[in-house]
């Protein structure tokens, strides 16, 4: 199998999950596809010469970086718009990424949702702050260990544990609320 076939096989394996991950973060299909495209091109250009067992972590590292950039741009856009329209005079403080207002519609998944549990779960995941969302998806869905997740997220292992723990705690609460 030549390198192109190997890369094709790898990207086929990750593309749908990557898309879902980007969509959970952005709440928008087109934005999510753009982010996946950027991640794929970045990966193919820079990392296909690396050992194959590193590909998964490297690919998600690029995707996470693109999602974070998207959040920053969305935050600035939101701030500028609110400043121009003078709709909101309050000063936000703290982590700008985690404080980005959620503009996503909860009905965005209607066309693909098959049942109530999935709907509830996806809603709950979308409600998580970005870093908790990433820690949860990488640890649970991609089955990455703490070290790999820390590399992908560009933070310490301790931070990963904190984000993940908070995510699980929040999800448990949200899913109980939704089901009740």
């Amino acid at each position: 199998m030549n390198i192109r076939d190997k890369v094709n096989q790898f990207l086929t394996h990750v593309e749908r999950r990557a898309f879902k991950m980007a969509k959970y973060a952005t709440g928008n299909v087109d934005e999510a596809l753009d982010l996946v495209q950027d991640a794929m091109f970045g990966f193919v250009r820079h990392y296909t010469n690396r050992p194959e067992d590193e590909w998964n972590v490297l690919f998600y590292s690029i995707l996470r970086s693109r999602i974070t950039d998207w959040y920053r741009r969305a935050f600035v856009r939101k701030r500028v718009l609110s400043w121009v329209t003078r709709a909101n005079d309050s000063e936000d403080e703290g982590d700008p990424i985690q404080d980005v207002p959620d503009t996503r519609t909860l009905n965005a998944f209607e066309d693909i949702l098959r049942h109530e549990e999935l709907l509830a779960l996806e809603k709950a995941i979308q409600m998580l702050p970005l870093r908790q969302q990433q820690a949860f998806l990488l640890r649970v869905w991609e089955e990455m260990d703490v070290k790999q997740t820390a590399f992908v997220m560009g933070c310490s292992e301790g931070s990963v544990k904190t984000h993940y723990s908070r995510a699980v705690h929040t999800l448990r609460g949200l899913l109980e609320d939704i089901r009740s």
Partner: protein, 120 residues
């Protein structure tokens, strides 16, 4: 059922549901993802091609060197106009000669005088 078991079941259920959602994407999104993947694959280098490519810093250095050399040659050529007085050997002799410069300033007059004398 204790908390750990509840959490474990929740996570297993979540993983299962998420995988199901990823597999059941609508056909349009699947096609768009496939297209993106195939486009990305066109940039995959052929095996061995990377071996012959110099590192990026060498490429950048070579580009900068070539640019500087280009600018230097440009100014060198601009500084050497075609009517440079020392272009020909006879002019060079004039420049390096220690004789009185006034003689050369009146050279045309002496030439005219010589033709008049030869003609008469």
């Amino acid at each position: 059922m204790n908390t750990n078991e509840q959490e474990k079941r929740l996570l297993e259920k979540a993983k299962s549901l998420l995988s199901e959602a990823a597999e059941n994407l609508d056909s349009q999104t699947k096609k768009r993802l496939e297209r993106i993947r195939l486009d990305a694959l066109t940039t995959v280098e052929r095996p061995g091609a990377k071996f012959f490519l110099p590192p990026r810093w060498i490429t950048a250095s070579a580009f900068v060197t070539a640019a500087i050399a280009g600018v230097a040659i440009f100014f060198w050529l601009r500084a050497s106009p075609g009517n440079f007085p020392g272009k020909q050997a006879e002019d060079f002799e004039i420049i390096t000669s220690a004789e009185n410069i006034e003689f050369y300033e009146n050279l045309e007059f002496y030439r005219w005088l010589a033709t008049k004398e030869n003609g008469s």
